[in-house]
């Protein structure tokens, strides 16, 4: 398909980490079928080291939503919670070698779903992280603030 590059196509056609972790340490759901994209991410966390040991996704959505979920889960496995929270949607897009402009929101969705899963983990375990300050998992806006807006605030 001409609209996606080879890497996006590969992550869509052969997605990594599809599924649902049983008894996950954190679960995040973002989007809705009405919007056309809905993502669920489940994570397992090594609580002593604060390291994400596994992540799985389930996504209702287009090729780029599935590719973004696949890439995002790949990127957080083996990372500490703080490192995972540092990942921006732009990094997901970069790792995919770019997305069509109109599909950038798919990467935002993946970024938000990951933060939601970590937020859930933090809530259940009474932990606080700098990267979650001001984060609202129920924020139903389909857009997270971009880097510039973050620094301005």
């Amino acid at each position: 398909m001409a609209m996606y590059n080879d890497k996006v196509m590969d992550y869509f056609l052969h997605p990594h980490n599809v599924g649902e972790i049983e008894n996950p340490d954190g679960i995040g759901v973002y989007g809705s079928p009405v919007c056309g994209d809905m993502m669920q991410i489940t994570i397992s966390v090594d609580k002593e080291k604060d390291v994400i040991t596994d992540a799985k996704f389930k996504t209702f959505g287009c090729g780029s939503a599935i590719a973004s979920s696949s890439m995002a889960t790949d990127m957080i496995i083996g990372k500490t919670i703080d490192e995972a929270l540092d990942i921006s949607n732009k990094q997901i897009v970069d790792e995919l070698g770019g997305l069509p402009a109109i599909k950038i929101h798919c990467s935002v969705l993946a970024d938000h779903a990951i933060k939601s899963a970590i937020y859930d983990y933090a809530q259940k375990n009474g932990k606080t992280y700098k990267g979650l300050e001001g984060f609202d998992p129920d924020d139903d806006k389909d857009e997270a603030p971009d880097e510039d807006e973050k620094t301005q605030i």
């Binding site: 079928p33 056309g36 809905m38 209702f60």
Partner: protein, 389 residues
């Protein structure tokens, strides 16, 4: 890899007989139809023959058929030409919510210039009701435009009844019949339309040619100004080869109409039956009563259309989707929305259109691939029956 084309409503391959008849008009019979010498008149004769063939297919007088560059031009001409010629009478146009964008965007353009446009709703089958038209008519209404066959769900409109309502009030009636030509019988006199738009490339003819039928006496201004082509109604040197191709395609469409409808609807019905048999949680959108013979618009619950499209493309199968994710505007199909279909179901809708070159083997291959793809995407999907929508 096997290639299966199931998007005949988007466009059709040009038939060999059509190409053969077009070819001499590029380099041998290349004259300008407006030139008086033999070479020019030879080209003019080709255009005249084509006009006769298109007119015959729709039951019109050849003098009432005007060639355009495409169906969209015919639609634009209607909207601008009628509102201009009848501006003294009023500035109100009635159309429907499920028209092609050539109509909807012409309406939007006119609305910015002081014309009132009313968009009639449709029922869940995609049909416009004559009583709704009756209610929408105003003393200043100058044009009613309702498509003959919808391009997404294939619903055939009760054009004869709708035209009768418009005429009862002395209003010009237009129908965009781009999807209807060659797929449903058309008789402009029986239907009672004043204007009708057509396109060549939907009936196995070349792209870049369309036509507007204009009943004698209809008040409509010219849209393209210049030379005296098309009886001084539409300027511009004729696309001779294209028009000749359209004419041949029209002749073939008329000869094949009954067989085409029978063959294509048989394949389409088989396809729908096999989809229902092999794939759970599917919904056929629109109605099976009065539908484009080749159209099957199907929602696959819990998954999204662009994903299906890409995976089918990987298997060499071409289809289209009403999903927002596949459109440049990220807006879901306005047609399926007007039918009252919930947006989450629109995202999972696919339009399959079979045509003259489709075989049962093509459909069996498609069913096989589709069954796998839907299963795969549902395994990935975060929504299902239990989780709800």
């Amino acid at each position: 890899m096997r290639q299966v084309y199931l998007d005949y409503s988007a466009t059709t391959p040009v038939k060999k007989e059509v190409v053969d008849e077009m070819l001499p008009y590029f380099s041998e019979k290349f004259g300008n139809p407006s030139s008086l010498y033999d070479l020019g008149q030879e080209a003019a004769a080709g255009v005249a023959k084509a006009r006769g063939r298109v007119a015959h297919l729709i039951g019109a007088d050849p003098a009432e058929v005007f060639f355009t560059s495409c169906g969209s031009e015919a639609d634009n001409w209607t909207f601008f030409g009628v509102t201009d010629a009848q501006s003294a009478k009023g500035k109100h146009v009635i159309t429907s919510e499920i028209e092609h964008h050539a109509i909807l965007h012409s309406g939007e353009y006119l609305a910015k210039r002081g014309v009132d446009v009313t968009y009639l709703p449709v029922d869940h089958e995609g049909r416009v009701h004559p009583e709704d038209l009756e209610k929408a008519i105003r003393p200043d209404t100058v044009l009613v435009s309702i498509m003959l066959v919808n391009n997404e769900v294939g619903t055939v409109q009760p054009i004869k009844e709708l035209a009768a309502v418009a005429h009862k009030h002395g209003i010009t009636f237009h129908s965009d019949a781009v999807q209807g030509l060659g797929n449903v019988p058309i008789d402009v006199n029986d239907m009672g339309v004043d204007l009708m738009s057509f396109s060549s490339h939907k009936i196995y003819g070349p792209k870049g040619v369309g036509a507007l039928y204009i009943r004698k006496g209809t008040k409509i201004s010219n849209y393209l100004h210049g030379g005296a082509q098309e009886s001084s109604r539409r300027a511009g040197t004729e696309n001779t080869a294209g028009i000749v191709g359209f004419g041949k395609a029209a002749e073939l469409a008329e000869q094949n109409l009954d067989d085409h409808i029978k063959k294509v609807s048989g394949l389409r019905d088989y396809f729908i039956e096999q989809v229902k048999k092999n794939i759970p949680d599917v919904i056929v959108n629109g109605t099976m009563e009065g539908r484009h013979p080749g159209n099957a618009n199907i929602t696959f619950k819990y998954i999204e259309g662009e994903s299906i499209l890409i995976l089918l493309n990987e298997k060499g199968i071409s289809i289209s989707t009403g999903s927002a994710c596949s459109s440049k505007s990220l807006a879901p199909s306005h047609v399926l929305t007007a039918l009252g279909i919930p947006v989450e179901l629109i995202h999972g809708s696919i339009r399959f259109t079979v045509g003259d070159f489709t075989t049962k083997e093509d459909l069996d291959y498609t069913i096989e691939c589709l069954t796998e793809i839907v299963k795969h995407l549902r395994e990935i999907s975060s929504v299902n029956e239990k989780k709800g929508w």
